[in-house]
């Protein structure tokens, strides 16, 4: 390498390739903003298309690190969004509905996985994929359709909080088991992570600003670098013990509140968007598109079953607060699966996994993420006519 040339020609080509991918993702995000759809399915689709024409010779370590950072940022930002009162309030108001959500929506993926012969562990991964609704897609749909003021909205959001909270035991449990650990170790880590979640929450309630005050600084780069550095370190330590780094990031996010949470949201939001877009794209990229026709039937069946089970969940979750129309709106919006289904599917990794799992998860997320906003937009048509149509 000469003194003047900073990168090798292959490095330069890589820069051009990454830049081109980001420009493509930007165009898709623009399209998503115009059509009021979530960009997540578009990123997945872009990855699928690129993967079918380009060679899949990405650096595996770089991919893995990128995925980890994306998962850590996604879960950290999710933790930031919730304050203690949200979690306590959701547990208090909606625990039965949250349990019903789990009982209705985990088994379809799990049972279909078993029937496909994925084995118990990977069937449990598929169960996680069908269980968790996408907080970001649901929140975006409610906002776009002007439904945040509606009566059914708090009950729906409580369900999302409980699902996200359920990730605290689920992710470490699956991470340990997938790494070949025993079920005892897995349950131990899961219990530990759940206990830590409550410790983080109660600490945040009592000394909410103490961690925040130490991190606070007028200079943005100081806050950005210290938060990001702590997150990566905590995530790395967790991964050494085969506990999901994402869960630790979620706990850190939960324990930060107030003005430092606002700062972190502003500073890390753009980073999250960048890494998450690349993560969804690369998940699609790694999917073997030739396997898609083989899983299309199963994905459609799974979609049909879980549309029904999520609608049942929504129907029960907002009972007593909303009429038929509101209950249908709640159920249909919850159909959307998105970022966390992809996070869960990516847990299984690529080695020693049934090659049908990733394509199935990708197609399933595409189906639900695209259909939920449409279903919920026209949900009112299913309800008996009212005096006045709702705006």
């Amino acid at each position: 390498m000469g003194g003047v040339v900073a990168v090798t020609p292959s490095g330069a080509v890589l820069l051009i390739a990454i830049g081109a991918v980001l420009v493509l993702l930007a165009l898709l995000a623009r399209l998503a903003a115009h059509t009021a759809f979530s960009p997540i399915p578009l990123y997945l689709l872009a990855g699928l298309v690129i993967g079918s024409v380009a060679p899949r010779d990405l650096d595996a370590t770089a991919m893995e690190i990128g995925t980890q950072i994306a998962v850590i940022l996604l879960l950290f930002m999710l933790g930031l969004e919730y304050v203690v009162d949200d979690v306590v309030g959701s547990l208090r108001s909606s625990l039965p509905a949250g349990l019903l959500d789990m009982v209705l929506n985990f088994p379809p993926g799990f049972i279909v996985g078993l029937l496909m012969g994925l084995g118990g562990l990977h069937a449990a991964v598929l169960g996680g994929v069908t269980y968790i609704s996408s907080s970001s897609i649901v929140a975006k749909v409610l906002d776009d359709l002007g439904r945040l003021a509606n009566r059914e909205t708090p009950g729906m959001l409580a369900i999302l909080v409980l699902e996200d909270l359920a990730m605290a035991p689920y992710l470490p449990l699956m991470a340990v088991l997938l790494a070949g650990g025993s079920i005892v170790a897995g349950v131990g880590w899961a219990a530990g992570a759940t206990a830590l979640a409550f410790v983080a929450l109660s600490l945040a309630r009592r000394h909410g600003s103490s961690l925040g005050r130490r991190l606070a600084h007028p200079k943005s780069e100081v806050v950005l670098l210290s938060v990001m550095g702590l997150l990566l370190m905590a995530g790395g330590v967790a991964e050494l013990g085969h506990v999901s780094g994402g869960v630790v990031a979620f706990l850190v996010g939960l324990s930060i509140s107030g003005s430092i949470a606002q700062r972190a949201r502003e500073l890390l939001g753009p980073l999250r968007d960048l890494f998450a877009a690349l993560f969804f794209m690369s998940f699609g990229f790694m999917v073997d598109e030739t396997a898609i026709p083989g899983v299309l039937g199963v994905a459609l069946a799974l979609w049909a079953i879980t549309v029904a089970t999520k609608m049942g969940t929504g129907w029960v979750a907002v009972r007593g607060r909303s009429g038929v129309a509101g209950r249908l709106r709640a159920g249909t919006a919850l159909v959307a699966r998105g970022e966390f289904s992809i996070v869960i599917a990516s847990l299984a990794g690529t080695t020693g996994v049934d090659p049908r799992l990733a394509p199935l998860a990708a197609v399933y997320v595409l189906l639900t993420a695209v259909s939920a906003p449409l279903l919920t937009r026209y949900a009112d048509l299913l309800a008996p006519r009212r005096r006045r149509p709702s705006g």
Partner: protein, 168 residues
Amino acid sequence: MSYTLGMSEIEETRLPGVGIRFEFPLESGDHLVTINHNSGRAEILLCDRDDPDVCHEVLRLARGDVKALTEVLSQARVTEAASMRPQLLMEGLTIDWVSVDAASACGNCSLHDIEHQDEGAASIVAVLRDGKMIVAPPSSFTVRPGDVAVVVGTPEGAEALGRLLRSG
């Protein structure tokens, strides 16, 4: 959670991951709903008095707009308060009315905590709550969002204390 401010009963509902929803009946009978997003933007909606599912969005406000609108609307109350304000007691001493914001870091602090956080030379000598004036509250007294604190001190001290109560 609900509380009363002035004439209207305000209902507050947390929207996890989104923000806070406030609702109160207007004198016209319609219900006014605001959605305060965590990101700082806000929406104002009008809802049918019988059916809160039938809401019409009136305004969508960006973060800066929220600030501007709050400022403009609170002008009326400031003018009202200013006309009641007694003469400057003496040189270097000022008296001010500060409403405690929900977003304030001291939205639920005791006067003891507030005095420790505020280095300036100013004190809260009275608090207007639910239309009642609490004069010379003890240091264990806890301010709440919606209170109006009467602050006395040096102009700089009163200004600093006001900033503490208004925002986080």
